[in-house]
Symmetry: C2
Subunit: 254 residues, 2 copies
């Protein structure tokens, strides 16, 4: 698919998401964080280019973090920063950066203030992070996330991760926002619109045209999604897609 | 986390899942295939070790396929085998294997039989696959998936992917099934059970113990999931976890 261009002179801002947790790979827990982060980043003009899910394994975490942080502007992780023995994200990322794991003094203070008598060795694990990490506020349950280099480390619980993403958002360099519009295919099948849609895409190289077949409850139809950073380019492509849908719907659809 | 051992003399069977599609990375469509494949494989004794999501980009697809097929017993992909210009999974995987893309003769026949007058150039794209690929039956919408080497290529639409997974299942070498049992934490917080649970894990190296905090609607509690391939090992660890939960629930929970 053609790559949309940003505003002139503006480097695209890219990102990868890394979900950490055996429970996702066993199927016991269904990931919701990739989809959330994808939408969040799209809305602020950052292109999510890749996502990965790895096990609670120090080497697997380190290998994935090193591959992703070298390739993209930002990396976001979720999972593995809780109080139990299998929460080893800190160890994996410290290994990736070649630095020791410490108890972050300010994180220890936050946990002690919030937890009072309930503080114990397990809960203090939540202050473990690579030396040099900076805290990310957690307005939900206080135990902070953290950032080291271009890697942002968040909790796995969706509500907590989302609060951390809100805290991170204003610190990120963002690109021109990707604009997106959907033309409903009104009963047209993807196989009928695929050929001419490819011709429109070939001419409009500054937009990205995707087609998504789905059932609307009573019939199969196709949504055509047009994305671009330039409103004029998007509008021009949209007009052609709408004319195509009008023509095909008259023949085969509504 | 400790790795569970399979039956004596049995090599573990491993897998990776690769989801292909811009619509997942933009957040427009939420992936449901990773979770489905994770559960499916767990139930037949195959360990899903990694999942990735990449864009509709030939080089990105090829790089991911080559990394994963070298590392795991099986690779499963979803997405990008439909009739439109952005369906380029065949091109990416052919590039990974260094073979040309052809129209598979039997796939062309299947499409012509099923589609009759509706056959066109776009729909014939669904017969494009790397030379040497073998077909995977699609009982839902006929256009087949395909296998090349250890890589199984499926549709992105969940109902179609699930039908293809059913067709693939009996062809796979499977390991000893992972047994899994959950002990409910009855209001115990993860930070209270984390320390002693780590001690149980340290002793029972042949099981995997995970703890998952969640709200049961009225309070926060923790589920403890114990997994092993050996029923005896699982039962022994479970007894200790249950005794621990009894003790802690008397102190802090129900």
């Amino acid at each position: 698919m053609a790559e949309a261009t940003g505003r002139t002179g503006e480097a695209p801002v890219t990102a990868a998401m890394l979900v950490i947790g055996d429970e996702i790979l066993s199927g016991r827990t269904k990931d919701r964080n990739i989809g959330y982060v994808a939408e969040f980043l799209t809305n602020i003009g950052i292109d999510l280019k890749e996502a990965r899910v790895v096990a609670d394994d120090i080497q697997d975490i380190a290998d994935a973090v090193n591959a992703l942080r070298a390739r993209y502007t930002y990396v976001f992780t979720s999972g593995g920063i809780g109080p139990t023995h299998d929460d080893i994200t800190a160890d994996g990322i410290a290994h990736a950066f070649g630095v020791p794991v410490i108890h972050h003094p300010r994180a220890v203070e936050i946990l002690k203030e919030y937890l009072g008598d309930r503080i114990n060795e397990a809960r203090l694990r939540m202050a473990r992070m690579p030396e040099g990490a900076e805290l990310i506020e957690n307005t939900v349950s206080k135990a902070p996330g953290w950032r080291i280099g271009n890697v942002h480390v968040m909790a796995g619980i969706p509500a907590v991760m989302q609060a951390m993403m809100d805290a991170i958002g204003p610190t990120l360099r963002t690109g021109a926002r990707m604009l997106s519009e959907t033309v409903e295919g009104r009963g047209i099948k993807e196989g009928d619109i695929g050929g001419p849609l490819g011709q429109i895409q070939a001419v409009h190289k500054d937009v990205m045209i995707g087609s998504y077949p789905h059932s609307d409850g009573t019939r199969f139809t196709t949504s055509i999604v047009i994305r671009a950073r330039d409103a004029g380019a998007l509008a021009a492509a949209r007009r052609e897609v709408e004319a195509l849908v009008d023509r095909l719907a008259a023949e085969t659809g509504d």
